[in-house]
Each structure stands twice: as C-alpha cells, then as structure tokens.
Assembly symmetry: C2
Homo-oligomer: 345 residues x 2
C-alpha cells in the first residue's frame, strides 16, 4: 500500500527552499510514496512546478495560512494558530489522509499539537522524543531526548517499551537490549526514580540489560538507552557541542600553515570519508513516539539532504507498522504500566 | 612557602608504577614542592631509590597498610580500612602535614573519607566534583560531575559559588561567568530545581549569565557550568564515549588501505598536533570542592603524565589559596545559602 506523508513545508530555518527539494529527492528514491506539502499554496505550487523529475506527480499541496515561529510558546502555537502548516500537517494524519508527518519546526509546539490532535496510545502517559545515535557497533536509539523533564519510574518503563518496539520494527531486532542511563560514581548509584525504574524493568519482560553510563551510548552497549528528557537532552546537546569543537580543532590543525594545508590536500579523501561517516545529517529525524500517529521532527537547521533523511525515517516507521507494534507491546506487558501521573511541572 | 602534597601512591589501576614516577616528574618541574607518598613502605622506598633526579630529596614515604579497592563500597572503605593509603593521605591534610592530597582511587570512597575526615567548609552542605573541560575558547569548569545525585536549588547555588571561587583563584578571572545547565526544548524550560536555582542565582551577586545548554559547555559560553551530579556525570561520560568513538573512526579511515595509510604518514604531524590538543591527560584531575582541604581525584586509569597533571592541579589550588577564596565568597553571599537539606537519597 502506498505511503502518504504530510510535510510541514514552512517549518524550520529554511522553509520551502529545503522542504520541497527534500521531498522531491525522497520521492525519487521511494517510488511507492506520496508527499503532501503543507503551507502557503502559491509559494509551494511555484516550487513544485520547478521540479523536473517524475516525483512531481506524487507531490500535492495542502494550503495552510499560518506558520509557527521557531521561538513561539507552544501553548500559543496550539491555541492561536489553528491554520498553521504544522497543525494542518498533523491534522492530515488524524484524518487518515496522511500516514505520518514531518516537521522541522519548533519542537515544543510540534509536541503540543501532536499530543492534542492525535492523543497518546493506550497505556502511554506522555510521548517521548526518540532518536538514533551512531555508535562503534552501528546505532543506538535513545529516548527521551527532551519532551519530559520530570519522569516517573513508570514513564521510564513506557519509554523502554516504546524504544524496544521502535527498534524491533525498524531494525528487525527481535528483542532489543534496553539500557537505563545512570551514573556509577557515587555511593548509592542513581536517584530514586532510576532505581525504581530498574526494578520495574527487571520484571517487565523486556530484554533489560541493566544500568548503562554515558559512555555506553557511543560504545553501542545496548540497542536502546532510556533516560528522562532533561538528562537525554543534555547528553545530546553536549555531544553536538563536542563533535563540533573536535571537528573545528582538526580543521584548524590542518589549516595551520602551508605544510599542513598540503597534507590536508593529500589526506582529503580520508578526511571526507571520516566526515561522511559521522555526518549528523544521516541521523536527522527524531521520532515523537507514543502518539496515535507517526510524527518525525527534523532539526530546525536541516538542509535538503538532512530533511530527506527525516522524511525517509517517517516512511520507514509507517512501512514497518511501528504504531501497531508499540500498541501490541504495551498490551503484552505483564503488569499495568500506566499509573496516575503527577501533574507535569 | 613550600607546598607539601600527600599522594595516595597505591590508588588507581596502576598504583606505584604510575604514582611514583608522576610524583618525581612533578617535583622536577616544581622546585619548591614536596610530596609524601602514602602506601606500602617497602614497595615505595624501593621505587623512590630508583629515582635519579634531585626530586628524590623532596619525596618521603608515609606507611599505610591497606588499599581501598576500586569497586569497594565507600561505606566499607570508610569504616573498615582506617589504615588505607587513601585515608592516611587525607589524614595528612587534616593534620596539617600536607597542604593537599591526590588519589586515583575509588571516587565514592575518596569523597566519603574526605568528607568524614576534613568536613565541609562553613555554608557548604555537600562537596561537589569539579573539573576543567576544553572548549573552543579555552577551558570551562563544570560541577557537580557525580557527587550529588539529588540537589536542592540552594546546593546548585553553592556549586556556583565554589566554581566561581575556584576559577577566580586558579585562572585569575575576577568575576567568572556562571551558566546553569538546562534544556531548551520543552514547553516550560527546565525542572523546578533548576528554575528555582536560576532565581537564586540572579540575586546571588555572582556573575550569572543565565541558562546554558549542553553544547554551550564546549562552546565555552561561560567560565563555569553548574548542574547536579547526575546530569554532570552523564554529560562527562557521554563526552568521553563520543571522543573515543570519533578518534577510532578517524583512525579506521586512515588505516583502511595502503593509500590511506600513506596519507596518514604524511598527515602524521598534524594528527599528532590534533591529538595533543585534545589529550584528556591534560585535563586529568577533578577537584573535590567544598571541603576544608584540597583534594584532587585523578582518573583511575591515569598514566604517569596524566597523574602528574592531577598533582600539579592540587599544587596550583594550594598555591592560589583556593580554600580561603571559597570561604570568603561564601561569607560574602548576600543571603544565607545554607538551608536545611533533605536527607540525601
């Protein structure tokens, strides 16, 4: 069955100049898919008209008159912009006209709108943000990366269930290993929430590896790493900062003088291979998991290649029936994982 | 006045084979200093006898019959091993026979022993682990990196005071900028503890920059980054894991085939310059800050060069009167920062 994806064509730092070519590139590579571009009709139709490939026939435009700003408070985006490109894209999923949607817009707004419009899956208190990260061995899926600042142990278990189902569906790993992000330094390891979550995970029926530390993420110790959104977001942003710094240091050493610049020229193919290997664009696209619909968030600054990866991620999740898998896993849990949750601070 | 440092010569993964040459190397470079090596007298005296430089005259040995294991529960190390090399080294500071001490042993045990023997400075509820990290601009001091899993807003303010005093004393920056580690993704930024800490920091008289995110650490946005020990430890370990992975990827690309190996040979001086620039050994030595005594924790796996950096760090802190500076800053705080603290979970 052909997959149709709604793309918030106005979101992100670059809007249609990135989202339209990315959509066309995705369609060229994925013959059975369709994309609905959501946003300013005139602008989008003019962009689509310039596309020369056959992908154009599988692109359509859905008008939306507003755009959510990158720094707009999510509550405002939700209440005041009912015809935003982001909202309309999510609505298309709700209405069944699209199988999933992709946006490079404001993360908080996308989460608020997606929760309000699509609702969470049964047994899930709050959605989480999940993303793949590169490791020595391949990839690890980490969640939550910023949606939930204060988590209960039960929510961490739900993240584990969702991460397990996501990896199982997308990567074909039958029983993904689950690591619980913790620290190993102090007397009583971890805080109370993490300790309780570990107990729950042991009896969850999931393939619980145990506690992992920050360095285990990039070692690829487990297929899934579970943490609260504060810790996960700090780990992710810290990684981005460090990778950027190291890349700049490496570049600076090669650019230091004529001799080093000559060796950069000679080493160029190797340096490019290294750069490709760690290219963050390949990992663009975080999944808002736990919703009754596939929603993928692209980095706001994504270029066309990166945004194309985010669209492809949504396509893969739809094609692999991720939502059904998560629902099945939740239903198969030995004990109810959904408990009354304290109001989110 | 000459500075005397006590070195736990038995601690760490390598014991005297690292700690003794590191001490000698440190003394060769620091003519006014003295080192007391603490541990098995026979072993240490034999090691010292082999030292050929004049440093030997400024090295003495203090016997200690026990060693704290790297994975020993801190409570056991504290209660059952009263003649451990770690404990005796800390005792020397307490007795005024040493101005500071250095250990590569078990972090939890060192913190427990140091707190018990030395006590915290007035106005400080709990010590923190502080370390310098490299940034695009130079260095940032981050704390806490693992000592305190659950922190109150008041404790985060105390960390800010201690970090500010440390950077001010050691790096000569009059009013270091303070960043509070937070996340920027979700609706209501940060959790309650961080939000309250930000309010307190605004009226603290410190040079509070505001919230920073993970990537700001390596951007060098502020001189000091404050966070709780769980988040700080995850950020630190994640960084170690990522740096290791990137280094291995770079190496793998250069080792791929004869042509790439040839370019590695040509680029060798540049690659070595890059390696030196990010050499983690240069940043070895975390300060247990907030105690009535200078205590520096070396990485357990440190080699002689890395351990020497840790000794030098303790020396610098003593020579710059870090303890007095912290005490003065605490005393100068506009409002009492020490409040009754809930029992540590």
């Amino acid at each position: 069955m052909p997959v149709t994806l709604a793309v918030d064509a106005m979101g992100g730092d670059h809007g249609p100049s990135v989202t339209v070519p990315a959509s066309a590139g995705f369609l060229d590579a994925t013959p059975d898919a369709r994309v609905i571009l959501v946003g300013a009709r005139d602008v989008l139709e003019a962009s689509v008209a310039k596309i020369k490939s056959g992908a154009r026939d599988r692109l359509s435009v859905q008008a939306a008159s507003e755009v959510v700003d990158m720094d707009e408070p999510p509550a405002d985006a939700l209440r005041k912009k009912k015809d935003s490109s982001m909202r309309v894209a999510v609505n298309l999923v709700k209405e069944g006209r699209a199988d999933g949607c992709v946006s490079a817009g404001n993360t908080g707004a996308l989460m608020a709108i997606a929760r309000f419009v699509l609702k969470t899956l049964p047994g899930i208190d709050r959605p989480a943000i999940a993303s793949q990260l590169p490791t020595k061995k391949g990839e690890t899926t980490a969640l939550d990366l910023g949606a939930n600042v204060n988590c209960t142990p039960e929510q961490l278990v739900q993240f584990a269930v969702m991460g397990s189902a996501l990896v199982s569906a997308v990567d074909g790993i039958e029983r993904p290993t689950i690591g619980l992000l913790n620290i190993g330094e102090e007397e009583i390891k971890g805080n109370d929430v993490v300790k309780l979550a570990a107990e729950l995970l042991k009896s969850s029926g999931l393939n619980f590896y145990g506690n992992v530390e920050g360095d285990d993420i990039y070692k690829g110790t487990t297929d899934v790493v579970v943490c609260d959104g504060f810790v996960g977001n700090v780990a992710l942003k810290t990684s981005e900062g460090l990778a950027t710094m190291l890349y700049q240091f490496l570049r600076a050493e090669f650019m230091r003088n004529p001799a080093t610049r000559l060796s950069a020229l000679i080493a160029y193919p190797v340096l490019m291979a290294f750069k490709r290997r760690i290219d963050p664009r390949r990992y663009n696209g975080a999944t808002l998991v736990g919703l009754k619909g596939v929603v993928v968030k692209s980095h706001g600054g994504a270029d066309a290649l990166a945004f194309r990866y985010a669209i492809a991620k949504a396509h893969t999740e739809v094609a692999h029936g991720v939502l059904d898998r998560i629902a099945q896993r939740i239903a198969a849990m030995p004990s109810p994982t959904s408990t009354p949750v304290q109001p989110h601070a």
